[in-house]
């Protein structure tokens, strides 16, 4: 009976209520800790350290694409004192177009369909709105998806890399440059001029042909030259 008497004391009830209150609060605290937030420490460190990754290397036509990618990775390893390495298959992707890269990455299990969709949307947003807005939209989409911690960390690293690339090469994601290179696959003016010369010369050859074989060849040349003019001057194949 003494025990029951002890339990009926009001201070015990107050003590329990405080305990429940604190336990409840600590639960909410842990939820707040788990809330996903993008962390740009890596990007800020990249900025402060002044790492130099020279993307201009890509423009050198005499080096193969795989060699260019390897050289960039070497630069990164040298700058960051890391020993990152990729399988050769990943380097070979440098020769593929966007669709092929996604297809192979999905086959190899490097990317999921969701990753592909998110990346496609990101690329489209860069083209339409520029890199800064694209990053903001990407962040919002990722937060809405409530991904697992591991997946979220992947996306966080991805955005850190994008920001670092943009910081090191401000022209890399310029909307107008992207549109220029993606929309038109533009050829230099002198190739267009050369195609024009080829068409004129082919027309002359057609005008001067005597035999059936010569005229046939001249016709083929005019057709090929017209195609060439369309490809070199029109901007698309």
């Amino acid at each position: 009976m003494n025990i029951i008497k002890f339990l009926r004391k009001p201070y015990l009830a107050i003590l329990f209520s405080y305990l429940i209150l604190f336990v409840s609060c600590s639960q909410y605290d842990s939820v707040e800790i788990n809330e996903q937030n993008f962390d740009y420490t890596a990007f800020n460190e990249f900025k402060s350290q002044g790492y130099i990754i020279d993307i201009n290397l890509i423009k050198n036509n005499k080096v193969s694409l795989i060699e260019k990618k390897k050289a960039i990775l070497n630069q990164i390893n040298t700058e960051l004192n890391t020993d990152l390495s990729f399988p050769d298959k990943a380097f070979e992707l440098a020769n593929s177009d966007v669709e092929e890269i996604f297809e192979i990455s999905m086959k190899e299990g490097w990317m999921t369909q969701q990753d592909v969709d998110l990346t496609n949307e990101f690329i489209l947003n860069i083209k339409n709105d520029g890199i800064d807005i694209a990053i903001s939209k990407y962040e919002a989409t990722i937060l809405e998806l409530s991904l697992s911690s591991a997946k979220f960390e992947e996306k966080n690293i991805f955005l850190n890399i994008m920001k670092s690339l943009n910081y090191a090469n401000p022209d890399l994601f310029k909307t107008e440059l992207l549109n220029e290179s993606l929309v038109a696959n533009k050829e230099p003016w002198y190739k267009c001029a050369a195609a024009g010369v080829a068409l004129v010369a082919a027309t002359l050859s057609l005008a001067s042909c005597v035999t059936v074989a010569a005229c046939g060849l001249a016709l083929v040349l005019v057709y090929a030259a017209s195609n060439s003019v369309a490809a070199m001057c029109g901007g698309d194949e």
């Binding site: 036509n61 193969s64 694409l65 795989i66 020769n95 593929s96 177009d97 002198y190 190739k191 050369a194 195609a195 010369v197 080829a198 010369a201 082919a202 002359l204 050859s205 005008a207 001067s208 042909c209 005597v210 010569a214 060849l217 001249a218 040349l221 090929a224 030259a225 195609n227 060439s228 490809a231 070199m232 194949e237």
Partner: protein, 72 residues
């Protein structure tokens, strides 16, 4: 029908050869790694090369005719 003279044929032949060389120099050889856009790259040099031979044949014929006439 247009009948070009010996000099015209010679000039055309040389011009085509020069353009053929130039366009060969402009070829982006990296496309051969991917095999994409290869035709687009080699199209112009081939056209110029064929055109150069195309104008060379009547030019040589004219020279032969001239030689024959001179001998006669």
């Amino acid at each position: 029908m247009w009948k070009p003279g010996k000099k015209t044929l010679f000039v055309l032949m040389i011009l085509m050869a020069i353009f053929g060389g130039l366009t060969s120099y402009w070829i982006d050889w990296t496309v051969f790694e991917t095999n994409k856009g290869v035709l687009r790259e080699i199209q112009l040099p081939i056209i110029f090369l064929v055109l150069s031979f195309y104008f060379m044949i009547p030019y040589l014929k004219k020279i032969k005719e001239e030689k024959k006439n001179n001998e006669a």
